[in-house]
């Protein structure tokens, strides 16, 4: 009588276990791998002195004015948005500042970009079959980088449109041209040309919309950004921006994702950019996160509100050679507006460090329409998870940059605590406290939290929040659903990447007094249902917080 149930139990166990480990494979996105050439061999060392991006004399004034080509249709440049004309007419068009576009390549001889391309400094990182110095796209699919480059530095040449910094110089690195990149290539893209490059634009990231955690920062990439930010530009650092991601909208193929799930955005020296629409509301797709610094115009899903920019020839919808387009949107579009603004700021004051840039951008951001507003210690006094400290105000940032004295030197304090905090699978919130002692930081700039949680079946039913001694909180992950990669598997599934360990980053505490109290980590493991809208719950084992650490960066 008891035998049948035993075999049934075993069978059930088999099905359950195999379901979790067998493979499926249907959600795999293609990854191109070229085993002969994918190892970029010449990762550059960091140039720390006598480099053009910190020692050169600022070039003379150069002006630009709206009116050429399609610039009247560039709504993000008009008076109601960034309104940069007075800055340009005052002689600051970003001249002399070099911005690197790390993307899928840039059409270097485009009529509106060629004049600003810095010859000999771009690199064909993933080998598109052209020469070492030529990352121009070879397929129509690689049209993204050309659009990004135009928003930064389309030239004031009477043709087409205008970039935010119409006389900044451009270099390109085609990291995305193969749909997959290695640690060595990632590091090369962050550091190549560091004797001339001042700003690096990253309108890319790990896969959006899956809901999964991406904990796997390559050690070389991570160190390359640290070296670039602390050693290049005579120690003032390269200014790195990264897009927040477009998985913020809960749809059948997306999953209310947060930018905190991606290691690229959690890096303490990367500045994450969100997107707003023409009204100053957060774009529906922009991912929220404690690491979002600022938001800029990135359009919406509505075609009339997308941005006009340069297009890879024959792929756009405007111009004789279809070399312009008016349909570019996303955090990919918002990020180059901030990169271009950074070029204007560095033209106004070349002595600024990358941390000064972050501080000024947050200090001058305008209040946007996103809610709820949370109290912030800097700028307009508000922080939201989708727009950070607010809406980009390029003119105010450039004005503040001119006379900004610079922040004191960067310090770092780190504390690790072992724990045996049990996290029950019943929605109940548990907490642990940690005191960062013997730390000489007075003002916080960035906080990293690393947690190691054992035995978690899923990370997506956990809520994790960090409270500062001053009582401001950073929401780092919330209960959400995972999906297959967009277009592959729209049905919901369990997220499986563990937080063991996982490192989150938060810029939410920028400007906050370090204080003397403890940091509080709050975790809850929510009850999972078998399917969306189902009442049937899934019992999961109790998990344990094994250890956690906080790294505070500040001055």
């Amino acid at each position: 009588m008891n035998i049948r149930p035993i075999s049934c139990v075993l069978t059930t166990l088999f099905l359950a276990a195999c379901g979790g480990g067998g493979g499926g494979g249907g959600s795999n996105a293609p990854v191109s791998i070229d085993t002969n050439t994918n190892a970029y061999k010449a990762v550059p060392v960091v140039v720390t002195s006598n480099s053009a991006n910190c020692d050169s004399t600022p070039p003379p004034a150069a002006v630009a004015q709206l009116g050429e080509g399609y610039s009247g249709q560039q709504w993000h440049l008009q008076a109601a948005s960034l309104a940069l004309e007075n800055t340009w007419l005052g002689g600051n068009t970003g001249q002399g500042v070099v911005v690197s576009v790390v993307d899928d390549g840039v059409e270097l001889n485009h009529e509106d970009l060629a004049a600003n391309v810095l010859a000999g400094q771009s690199r064909n990182i993933v080998d598109n079959g052209k020469g070492t110095l030529d990352p121009s796209p070879t397929t129509r699919d690689n049209d993204h980088g050309t659009a990004v480059a135009g928003l930064i530095a389309a030239a004031a040449n009477g043709k087409g449109m205008l970039g935010i910094a119409p006389n900044a110089r451009l270099v390109a690195h085609n990291l995305l041209a193969a749909n997959g990149s290695s640690d060595l290539q990632d590091a090369a893209a962050m550091l190549h040309g560091n004797a001339v490059v001042s700003v690096v634009n990253n309108s890319w990231g790990n896969l959006d919309g899956t809901g999964e955690l991406y904990p796997d920062a390559g050690s070389l990439w991570r160190q390359s950004v640290i070296n670039g930010a602390t050693q290049a530009r005579c120690g003032r650092g390269i200014v790195y921006f990264v897009a927040a991601g477009n998985g913020g909208e809960a749809t059948s193929a997306s999953s209310d994702e947060r930018s905190n799930y991606d290691y690229l955005n959690n890096h303490p020296m990367m500045m994450t950019v969100g997107s707003i629409n023409e009204n100053g509301s957060a774009s529906s797709f922009t991912e929220p996160g404690s690491n979002v610094l600022i938001a800029a115009e990135g359009g919406t899903n509505i075609s009339s509100t997308r941005l006009l920019t340069t297009a890879l020839s024959q792929t756009g919808n405007l111009g004789n050679s279809n070399q312009y387009r008016n349909n570019f949107a996303g955090t990919s579009a918002a990020t180059p507006l901030v990169s271009g603004t950074a070029a204007l700021m560095l033209r106004a004051n070349p002595a600024l460090s990358w941390r000064d840039i972050r501080w000024i951008l947050a200090s001058t951001a305008r209040t946007d329409l996103e809610t709820p507003k949370l109290p912030a210690a800097i700028g307009n006094g508000n922080f939201t998870y989708r727009t950070g400290f607010g809406r980009l105000d390029s003119n105010a940032a450039v004005a503040m940059a001119r006379t900004f004295p610079g922040l004191p030197p960067l310090k770092k304090c780190e504390t690790t605590q072992t724990s045996s905090l049990v996290i029950p699978d019943n929605d109940a919130e548990v907490s642990d406290r940690l005191s960062v002692s013997n730390c000489s930081i007075n003002t916080i700039e960035y906080v990293e939290l690393t947690v190691s949680i054992q035995n978690a079946v899923s990370s997506s039913d956990m809520n994790v929040t960090l409270d500062s001694p001053a009582g401001r909180n950073s929401i780092l992950t919330t209960r959400h659903t995972c999906h297959g990669e967009p277009g592959w598997m729209p049905s919901a599934r369990r997220c499986s990447v563990p937080m063991n360990p996982f490192t989150f980053g938060s810029v939410r505490h920028l400007g906050e007094n370090f204080g003397t109290g403890s940091w509080t980590l709050r975790i809850s493991d929510t009850i999972r249902t078998r399917a969306p809208n189902s009442m049937e719950t899934v019992s999961e084992p109790v998990t344990t917080l094994r250890n956690w650490s906080i790294t505070v960066w500040g001055h």
Binding site: R4, C18, A29, P30, I33, P44, S182, D183, S219
Partner: protein, 164 residues
């Protein structure tokens, strides 16, 4: 009853054996001073000729490769998933091992013994060993982690990217 018992247990053993084959083995590597865990997916892989993910059944013969439209001489790489689920995000050991080490002489000795080469990765303290893609890189990273002076040894993963 006895027959039913035997059949039941036999079925269970068969199922468990099959299941044991399907469960991906855990794989560890070191990055940023931490030990990371992955699940080596032996049922799926990447075809390096086409760049496409290969689904089950894993094609091992020229005929089965041809049936899937793969070149007969294609090479298949194992993948390491970041979670235990079969559709979790994955990394591909693309070739080469990135090593953070304070003892480059030990690295050079290790590499030359295997007719490999250790070269600077461009950042102080980091080196690259030119292992072949796939298992060679996974095994080399595991072995290198126990060498004196090694703080981190990771296969040079290829990561999927997305324009935003």
């Amino acid at each position: 009853m006895t027959t039913s018992h035997t059949l039941g247990l036999g079925l269970a053993v068969l199922l468990l054996a099959a299941c044991a084959q399907a469960t991906p083995p855990s794989y560890q590597w070191h990055e940023n001073g931490a030990t990371r865990h992955g699940w080596l997916d032996i049922q799926n892989g990447i075809d390096t000729s086409s760049g496409q993910a290969v689904q089950k059944p894993y094609p091992t013969t020229s005929r089965s490769k041809s049936a899937l439209g793969l070149p007969r001489d294609s090479k298949l790489l194992p993948i390491v998933r970041l979670g235990p689920a079969g559709d979790a995000p994955y990394l591909v050991p693309a070739g080469g091992v990135i090593v953070q080490s304070t003892d480059p002489a030990a690295l050079q000795a290790w590499a030359s013994k295997r007719q490999l080469h250790a070269s600077p990765a461009g950042i102080d303290g980091y080196w690259r060993i030119n292992t072949a893609p796939g298992n060679d890189s996974l095994e080399a990273a595991t072995a290198l982690a126990s060498l004196p002076g090694v703080q981190s040894a990771s296969p040079d993963w290829s990561r999927p990217r997305q324009r935003r």
